[in-house]
Amino acid sequence: MVKLYHAVHRSQNGKTLRVCLSVEEGKIVQAVFTGDFFAEPSESLIRLGKALKGVNLRREDLEKAVSSFLRRERVWLLGVEPKDFVEVILKAGKV
């Protein structure tokens, strides 16, 4: 059964990162990241959310998936760091 979660995380720079997360059997189906930070190209955030499909809700797996995506797509971030995406997903998954 697919479950939906939502979490809010504050980055060290004081920016808000939200995730709406759908999970099935401990694996991400889709994640949608939103917030008041800056990212270019902005469309890459949607792709990041889709690229996480099938990833386990485990810190190491998430770190690997997030950082390799951001590097591969050369995503520029301001106000949040790659680790913030991992934190917000883990926070959502805990609820």
């Binding site: 809010v8 917030g35 106000g79």
Partner: protein
């Protein structure tokens, strides 16, 4: 000395069109069809949300409908803001490479913040830049900025609270508990201030624009010359208005999971159709 175009063009009752003009100017400067530009403009009674925000989670849409507040998404990141006629927007479009080292958006915020602070100093207000993208007076926010780095363009815009109605602001925006806690305040009203409150006298918008223009000339060592929108920009703005900013799809955004999505879509349609 480099010359920039100064545009004082606004459609306060047409926020979707105002935002379309904003992007059209940026694209014109990027394409080399217009010189570097500083624009001053206002919206009336409008919430403008950041490119990456979820409108359902950030905005109380039903309250917007009650207060006749329009809602529009901009093309730059950052947070949701409330605009009325007492809020002045400034927007800088600079063709890359710019005078800002590395054409970096973060440094762009700092430099534009410096220009605005120099302008405010002429009005007797000491503001300072607080990273990532705020200008504060005595620990309270008076201006927030947003920006974007395109292939050939560094774009920074911001809004300056001259005397906005902060009561409406707190009624239509959802401020996350986490944000208030991290700022150490309970109510959003406690962490913002307006130029009128700081100056302690009435100020005309013309006076504010004049001071800011001088601040930009000083900070960037440029000369501003009043100009007009080109026909290319007007045509592009019309297209962006039609295909992007006036559409509910753009303004609703990417969050496909929101349980309230269908309801919010209807409210956004209603808001857009109100005159």
């Amino acid at each position: 000395m480099e010359r920039w175009r100064l545009l004082d063009v606004e459609w306060p009752d047409k926020p979707y069109y105002n935002l379309a003009v904003e992007e059209a100017i940026a694209l014109a400067v990027e394409a080399g069809k217009a010189p570097n530009t500083l624009r001053f403009w206002r919206n009336d009674n409008t919430v403008v949300i950041g490119r990456l925000q979820c409108v359902s989670l950030e905005v109380k849409l039903r309250e917007c409908l009650n207060y006749g507040v329009k809602v529009v998404r901009r093309f730059t990141g950052g947070g949701a803001v409330y605009h009325d006629l007492e809020n002045l927007n400034y927007a800088v479009s600079l063709r890359r490479p710019t005078l800002i080292p590395g054409d970096d958006v973060g440094l762009g915020f700092r430099k534009v913040g410096e220009a605005v602070a120099l302008g405010l100093r002429r009005l007797g207000v000491e503001a300072c830049f607080v990273p990532v993208n705020d200008l504060q007076v005595g620990g309270r926010k008076i201006s927030g900025m947003a920006g974007s780095l395109l292939q050939g363009l560094l774009f920074i815009h911001g809004c300056l609270l001259v005397g906005s109605n902060l009561e409406v602001l707190s009624k239509v925006l959802r401020i996350p508990r986490e944000k208030l806690e991290s700022k150490g305040v309970k109510a959003p009203r406690a962490r913002v201030t307006t130029l009128r409150d700081e100056v302690g006298r009435s100020l005309s918008m013309e006076e504010v624009k004049e001071a800011l223009a001088l601040g930009f000339e000083e900070a960037f060592n440029i000369k501003l010359e009043r100009g007009r929108l080109t026909s290319w920009e007007l045509e592009k703005a019309e297209e962006l208005y039609r295909e992007k900013y006036s559409t509910v799809e753009w303004n609703l955004g990417p969050c496909v999971f929101c349980p309230e999505r269908d309801k919010d879509l209807k409210i956004l349609r209603q808001i857009a159709s109100e005159k």
